[in-house]
């Protein structure tokens, strides 16, 4: 068969031209998208790092072991990764605007996962971030404490230790699963004490439709490896000797478990009056009762007051009943010494926090001395 080469000219011509243009695009890409190395000046010279340019600031920092907290992993959908930028990085992106107030924008606060590193920058980050590390923890044990709360205990790799203050939280990362196509991180307070240097424990309550809590409750297995970044947060006990009025509900117990165990470890539990109010609806919503009743018995200054708002007949409950705010109010008026200094420590949903803060200030407690877990 005689092949007429003229038939090949057309496709070869088109192919050749396309190849030539593709090469042109490739070359331009290498030139234009090569930002070289970028110098990042952090906290006015306190630390300087050099990272590969062209990537978002959040990832550049993470590359050098500086972990700015992020709930969505850099997708621009949580607004957590705020960083104060001192040098010029271009105008505020439309993707950043929903997360920043006018004052923040004026102060140079930006969403670091939306800023591409194109030139040297100078930024400011909170001091505590220098102590944040990432850990490849292994799930050691998962225990159910109530119908919707799991106690998750993770072991750190051999020889790796974590240093934190009781009351702080960690960012817990779960992998892509089911219909969720990307890794997601959420914040949970550490319920393990700081003395436990090789272990981290969290109390995780199932939130309907929640990406991470659904994974933890339905897919997490013992022996699995999980990435944890931390510690973060400034909720902690203030060493003043004042009476501690602590209020928590549900998974809000976590930081207090860490705090009280920490005080036992350090031998400071007897140094001040501690009132711990734990509010729930029925008996099946409370947990760690044995441990807390024991602390109440063994330590004269430690008072555990669990309150159920709607105890069921089968609960056989003879403890305080009613909303935790009512019970708190009652104790502040009738039982707790009004003369001695008081500090408030709160951990729970924003609605509960607001209600408790109102009760506390109505009973004469100063709002600056009421501390709460703020990462909502």
């Amino acid at each position: 068969m005689d092949i007429n080469f003229a038939y090949f000219i057309a496709p070869v011509a088109v192919g050749g031209i396309s190849a030539g243009l593709a090469a042109l695009i490739s070359v331009t890409d290498k030139i234009v998208n090569n930002y070289g190395d970028i110098k990042m000046d952090i906290n006015n010279g306190k630390k300087e790092v050099v990272v590969k340019g062209g990537q978002p600031m959040l990832f550049g920092l993470a590359e050098k072991g500086i972990f700015v907290p992020s709930a969505c992993g850099g997708r621009g959908s949580c607004g957590t990764c705020k960083v104060t930028v001192k040098s010029d990085v271009g105008p505020v992106m439309p993707t950043e605007i929903p997360w920043l107030t006018k004052d923040e924008i004026a102060a140079g606060v930006r969403i670091s996962c939306q800023i591409k590193l194109k030139q040297d920058v100078a930024i400011e980050i909170p001091e505590e971030l220098f102590y944040v590390q990432e850990y490849q923890a292994t799930i050691e044990r998962i225990t159910r404490v109530t119908h919707d709360i799991l106690e998750v205990s993770c072991k750190l790799p051999e020889g790796k230790e974590v240093t934190f203050t009781s009351g702080q939280y960690g960012q817990f990362e779960v992998p892509a699963y089911g219909k969720v196509k990307e890794k997601t991180m959420r914040a949970y307070s550490m319920s393990s004490p700081p003395s436990d240097k090789n272990r981290l424990e969290f109390l995780i309550r199932l939130v309907p439709g929640g990406i991470v809590t659904t994974y933890v409750h339905e897919h997490l297995k013992e022996g699995q490896k999980i990435r944890v970044v931390g510690p973060f947060g400034d909720f902690q006990v203030h060493d003043t000797g004042a009476q501690m009025i602590c209020v928590a509900g549900g998974s809000g117990m976590a930081p207090f478990k860490s705090i009280f165990q920490d005080m036992i470890d350090k031998g400071t539990l007897n140094d001040r009056e501690i009132w711990y109010f734990f509010g729930a609806r029925t008996k099946k919503d409370v947990f760690y009762l044995d441990w807390l009743y024991k602390l109440d018995e063994e330590h004269e200054n430690f008072h555990f007051i669990p309150a159920l708002s709607e105890p069921q007949p089968e609960d056989d409950w003879d403890g305080p009943t009613g909303l935790i705010t009512e019970v708190l109010d009652g104790y502040l008026k009738d039982t707790i010494d009004p003369e001695k200094e008081k500090e408030g420590y709160l951990c729970g949903s924003p609605g509960m926090l607001d209600a408790c803060m109102k009760v506390m200030s109505d009973n004469g407690m100063e709002s600056e001395k009421i501390y709460f877990d703020k990462f909502a």
């Binding site: 000219i9 057309a10 011509a13 088109v14 243009l21 695009i25 331009t28 890409d29 234009v32 105008p91």
Partner: protein
Amino acid sequence: MNAAPILNPFSLFVASIFTSNILLANFLGMCSFISISKDMTSSNGLGMAVTVVLTITAALNWVILHHVLIPLQVEYLRFIVFIITIAAVVQVLEMVIDRVSQALYMSLGIFLPLITVNCAILGVSLFMEIRNYTFVQSAIYGLGSGLGWWLAIMALAAIRKKTEKSKISPGLQGPGITVITIGFMAMAFVGFSGMLAVQ
């Protein structure tokens, strides 16, 4: 093949901007014209981008037409090949804009890749081919058409800005009054037609 037209380069340049404005006389390049003219800064940016693309593609397509397609006797491939070069040039331009000004890149958004299918770009290359321009004439025509497109979109953006606060009957608001405005602009430019030769 016919010979190249004998044209004064300067008069070709002026003609392609004013009297044979690619948008208002030939009605090519309408879609982004109507949508982006809502905002003056984006119109400015897009006008610049279209000018760059037009100049480069008109020249590049001339080279490919006369040095690859015609020698190989495959001029019939010009439609496909012109589109491929336009797409490549726009891709390169996108990368450069992203590097130079991320704000402009974000504000142009989807309209940057839409330049590829903007009929004005292909139209200029095809006019260049039909009218048998020389290389220099193609480049001038491309540059001039781009500037003309830029001028037209800036004019429309300015008019839309001025009439933002005017009372317009509900049925005509938005696209309606915009198209009517474009019609008026075109009528004004019709007055120039034929004054200067483009072919």
